[in-house]
């Protein structure tokens, strides 16, 4: 059973978002998503300074099996990207909510955060996928 932390927000396309104390939002893919993709071998993160819009393609994760787009849960500017993933993409598999984070955004519209799924709603998305 995939791990779905209660304190995070989610998209039904399997991204998670965590609001940090400084107001930035950290984004990654869920444990369910990494499990479905299998061993990751390549991650392309967005450049710092890039403007992203909610729901737009922001990053690419590739496993041995397939390539998959990662969508941004909120609009805003990229303020950090996880460069460790270029040498160690497997961090997304081993620690999807920690060392396997993808990028951080400074949100331009915090109302968008309210539109994300909570853990309970995301659990239902995962259950229905089976």
């Amino acid at each position: 059973m995939a791990n779905i932390p209660a304190d995070l927000k989610y998209l039904d396309s399997h991204e998670w978002a965590r609001v940090e104390s400084d107001g930035t939002v950290t984004i990654g893919i869920s444990d369910h998503a990494q499990g479905a993709l299998g061993d990751l071998v390549f991650v392309e993160v967005p450049e710092v300074g890039k403007s992203l819009s909610k729901g737009g393609a922001a990053a690419v994760v590739e496993s041995v099996k397939a390539a998959s787009d990662v969508y941004s849960p909120v609009s805003g500017e990229v303020v950090a990207a996880n460069d460790a993933l270029s040498g160690s993409p497997e961090l997304v598999n081993s620690d999807p909510y920690g060392a396997g984070w993808l990028f951080k955004i400074k949100p331009s519209n915090t109302d968008e955060l309210q539109q994300l799924l909570d853990a309970k709603a995301y659990e239902k998305v995962v259950a229905d996928a089976h």
Binding site: A36, G38, D39, V41, F42, E44, V60, E62, S63, V64, K65, A66, A67, S86, N93
Partner: protein, 360 residues
């Protein structure tokens, strides 16, 4: 719900991730696909290949029949048990399927064909069988497990009792019946190993005994990365009914000699050979970061080509592929990955054999 092999419940109980493959519910991986891949390159791994179809072809004129039906020439098979890889072509020279054929005796050959094409293949085999008075008998009473890797034979031999010594003496590309087993020294990984056919009812226990003997369970995911590293074509990806073996890296499997042997598809292949084959299948290595995938566009000075199979090679830790490109393509190409053109090198394959990279 798809078709199920006799090991389906075993895979479910092992927590395998299942996918549809040619209409069959098959395990794609049990845990880490890369670890399964390394298990085969470094030690021993096993694959359920019971979805493939085994068929016995019998009759006094079976050799003559297969010499007409297959593009490779079963006249090469002189020693009992010897196997041959061949394409079966249509009248246009396209590939109906690729298969392994075993010569057992002068009135009995055995073929093993792909899972996704089995109905089509049986129909094709039967189309010519009356003419040569041969019988085609699908062996759905048999399951098949491939055990592959440098330690695969030693580990599997502990399970075949009195036959172990004789089975260990099988030469490469030879198969023989040993009681209820048919063991052949063949595979689809570029490693040493066996493919073992057995009664359906025996398969679950044989699988769990192999696991207890230290053989890793491996899914279709690892099977695909292993075969691509080993430079082996996959039907439906790298060749199909609309492509000739000459355009698919399989010229070596077509026996044009002796010239008097007629076989289905010979005339169009001769014409293509005389007129110049327009495209070729090549190996690619991507030095940039990224992953080559099937259907990506390959850009060359001689025109565009296409990737037919691409993946990340766990052994080489970079991306490799097969691509069909214009015949005049040199040693550098570019590949269109999500709108970016990345440089790739054209190399000879296989990429990896017996655990070692052959190209870098």
């Amino acid at each position: 719900m798809g078709l199920k092999t006799p090991l389906y419940d075993t895979h479910v109980a092992a927590g395998a991730r299942l996918v549809d493959f040619g209409g069959w519910d098959m395990p794609v991986n049990y845990g880490s696909q890369i670890e399964e891949h390394h298990a085969v390159r470094r030690d021993a791994g096993m694959f359920d290949v019971s979805h493939m179809l085994i068929a016995d072809v019998t009759g006094a004129r079976v050799r003559e029949y297969l010499r007409y039906l297959l593009a490779n020439d079963v006249a090469k098979l002189k020693e009992s048990g010897k196997a041959l890889y061949s394409c079966m072509l249509n009248e246009r020279g396209g590939v109906v399927d690729d298969l392994i054929v075993y010569f057992i005796n002068e009135s009995w050959f055995r073929v093993v064909v792909n899972a996704g094409t089995r109905d089509k293949d049986i129909a094709w085999l039967k189309r010519f069988s009356d003419q040569f008075q041969v019988e085609i008998r699908p062996r759905t009473d048999l399951a098949m497990i491939a055990v592959q890797g440098p330690n695969a034979r030693a580990k599997a031999a502990t399970l075949v009792g009195q036959y172990a010594d004789q089975a260990l003496q099988l030469k490469t590309f030879v198969g023989r019946e040993f009681g209820k087993y048919f063991i052949s020294r063949t595979g689809y990984t570029g490693e040493d190993g066996w493919e073992i056919m057995m009664p359906v009812a025996d398969a679950p226990k044989f699988w769990s005994d192999l696991k207890a003997a230290g053989v890793a369970q491996c899914g279709l995911g690892a099977r695909d990365t292993l075969r691509l590293e080993a430079g082996m074509n996959l039907y439906g990806n790298d060749m199909d009914e609309n492509l000739s073996p000459l355009e698919s890296g399989l010229t070596w499997t077509v026996a044009f000699d002796p010239p008097e042997r007629d076989f289905v598809g010979r005339a169009p292949l001769e014409a293509q050979r005389a007129g110049g084959v327009p495209r070729k299948l090549v190996g690619l290595i991507l030095d940039d970061r990224g992953v080559l995938r099937g259907h990506q566009r390959v850009v060359t000075p001689a025109g565009d080509g296409e990737i037919t199979s691409g993946t990340f090679s766990p052994t080489m830790e970079k991306s490799i592929a097969f691509a069909r490109v214009p015949a005049a393509t040199g040693d550098r190409v570019e590949v269109d990955i999500r709108g970016k053109l990345l440089a790739a090198r054209v190399v000879k394959y296989p990429f990896v054999r017996n655990g070692k990279p052959l190209v870098s």
